[in-house]
């Protein structure tokens, strides 16, 4: 591979062209001054403060993505058009292969993205009021859906909390689907080897969370989930047992959001660049947007496409939690997407041919 730092610099500058920087400034202003949290969410207690801060943080990152995703997708799709409108004449006589050029442009794109997203991370923390979320998301457990039809119904589950976290909190999202009437009282009791009973109770009218603290290194957790009063049917849906750690580091939430946004934007730009090497600019933009929309709309949890991680991170940030950093699978997914661009450029033999 013949790596050219000059080409990387050129690509970065093209992604940060004056129109792009103007749009970036507008998005940053909107992120800084548009109210994101409704007044009802602003309160004095810890929960309202977390939620209000989370909504602010989420709003800022949505602004960042509303600028970065379309801009970088479009610019990445335009690269091959520039190559076919004259750049190919001097790129084609250089010692770099087409694959090298594709990789250099993508690297330039990644650097430019790193630069434009950084102020949003700072703005997000400012809009969150400077308070770090009290809880960091560690993962979720895939349990079978449990439905409690009548008073006294009970279900027993075995769960495995993530290991290594200092203090854990388990949160069960329980719903009373379609209940327009009175709610139902639900109790969850957990126990593990060498621990006293840990319990939580809640009155469920539509959907609510039952939270309980779990000591560190508990191993297997026995959970008893019981309905203790009359009312509507209650369900603990599959994959709705969430695990959180307490008191994450101050920079945990902005760093996680920054990395998720960066990886997702790079992956989308890489797909756009790859498709544009073979098809038209419009096709490339459509293909990249479709992949992003799929990740947003369809629940592909195990998919390593970085868009999935970004969607979940934004959801968690909006709920007042700190998302966890991208997993290895997400990094690998982004790496795979990044390989598409140089591969597509290398395989396209007529990349430097002039458009007539």
């Amino acid at each position: 591979m013949n790596f050219s730092p000059g080409l990387v610099t050129l690509a970065s500058r093209r992604f940060l062209s004056p129109p792009g920087l103007a749009l970036w400034a507008v998005a940053l202003c909107i992120a800084l001054f548009l109210p994101f949290a409704p007044s009802a969410a602003r309160g004095a207690n810890q929960v309202s403060s977390d939620v209000s801060g989370g909504l602010g943080r989420q709003g800022v990152w949505l602004c960042a993505l509303a600028f970065a995703l379309p801009w970088f997708t479009t610019r990445a799709a335009a690269c091959s058009r520039q190559w076919r409108r004259g750049d190919g004449d001097w790129l084609g006589t250089g010692t770099c292969t087409r694959g090298d050029v594709g990789a250099a442009y993508l690297l330039g794109c990644a650097l430019a993205l790193g630069f434009v997203l950084l102020p949003f991370a700072v703005a997000g923390e400012w809009r969150a009021g400077g308070a770090a979320p009290a809880l960091v998301w560690l993962g979720e457990s895939d349990v079978e859906t449990v439905i409690l039809f009548k008073e006294g119904d009970r279900a027993d589950l075995k769960l495995h909390p993530p290991s290594g976290a200092q203090v854990l909190m388990a949160r069960f999202i329980v719903a009373a689907p379609g209940s327009g009437g009175p709610g139902a009282q639900v109790r969850a009791r957990a126990s593990g080897p060498g621990t006293a009973d840990l319990g939580a109770e809640a009155l469920i009218s539509n959907a609510a969370a039952l939270s309980m603290d779990i000591p560190r290194g508990l191993g297997e957790l026995s959970l008893s989930f019981e309905r203790i009063g009359p009312g509507a049917v209650v369900a603990l849906e599959g994959r709705r047992v969430l695990w959180f750690g307490r008191d994450p580091p101050r920079w945990s939430a902005p760093l996680a959001l920054y990395l998720h946004a960066w990886l997702a934007c790079i992956a989308v730009a890489a797909v756009s660049l790859a498709v544009a090497a073979w098809g038209s600019q419009g096709t490339a933009i459509l293909a990249a947007s479709a992949l992003l929309a799929l990740a947003w709309l369809v629940d592909f949890a195990p998919m390593p496409w970085p868009g999935v991680g970004l969607r979940d991170a934004l959801d968690l940030a909006g709920g007042g939690f700190a998302p966890s950093r991208p997993t290895l699978a997400t990094w690998a997914g982004c790496g795979l997407a990044m390989l598409c661009a140089p591969a597509a450029a290398a395989l396209q033999g007529d990349l430097w041919r002039r458009d007539s």
Binding site: S4, L7, L10, W90, T93, T95, D350, R353
Partner: protein, 283 residues
Amino acid sequence: MATMNSPAIQARGLEQSYRSGLLWRARTVLADIHIELARGGRLGLVGPNGSGKSTLLRLIAGVERPSRGELILFGGAYKGGELRRRIGFLPEDASFPRELRAQETMELLASLRGVPRSAARERSRELLSAVGLERAAATTLGRFSRGMLRRFGLAQAMVHEPELILLDEPTAGLDAQGFAVFDELLARARARGASLVIASHVLTDLQTHCDRLIVLHEGGAAASGAPADLLGSEQGTTMLEVEGLDSAGLEAVRETVEARGGHLLMRGPSTAALRALYRRLSQ
């Protein structure tokens, strides 16, 4: 087997066609081209617009791949990047990156052609100065005039001291000083034994710098030979540039031409006069 005596260019049955339109029909822009250019040789390509000159240069430069035929450079001694390091190419309407400064772009292009980074800076400075752009080294190319871009294009084609130089309409848009710069650069290239291919509509460029011409017509080679044979005898028209004569002397030249049955077609100050005027003004 490739030797130092292998020709710089050997093309046999070269053809280039493009597919386009709804029915994906092939359109042939170059057909059955045979070229052999010895190392140090100077070849001119001439022909009307659309005759395939630029396409042929792009094929030789390696920007495009031929649809058919065989193209061997330097006897096939070099491949990939090694080969590209030996070729300098000035495209017809070179779109160099408008975002970068002249010095930056020259360094980038030099490094892309295999010039080490430390040497690239020095070579870039030297070449920009040679084409009279040293004061514009910190200006972005987007702010260059057409003539400045042409000078820049000439410089970038030579920045890595290539063994084969391909120039597409090198003097289009150049002013009188630019012509002098062009002549100077080509003289330097010739001195180090570089081979040269020029596509141009300017016959004086071809007559001055080429020892053989190929006339392209509708994608094929219609004729080839020495410039004097092809242009002089074919049209019976010769351009004279005269220096140091007053009007009486020029009148005597006209009378001599007419006495021998010829006609003086044009009379006026030469480009050399314009060059001298520029020199005076810059002093």
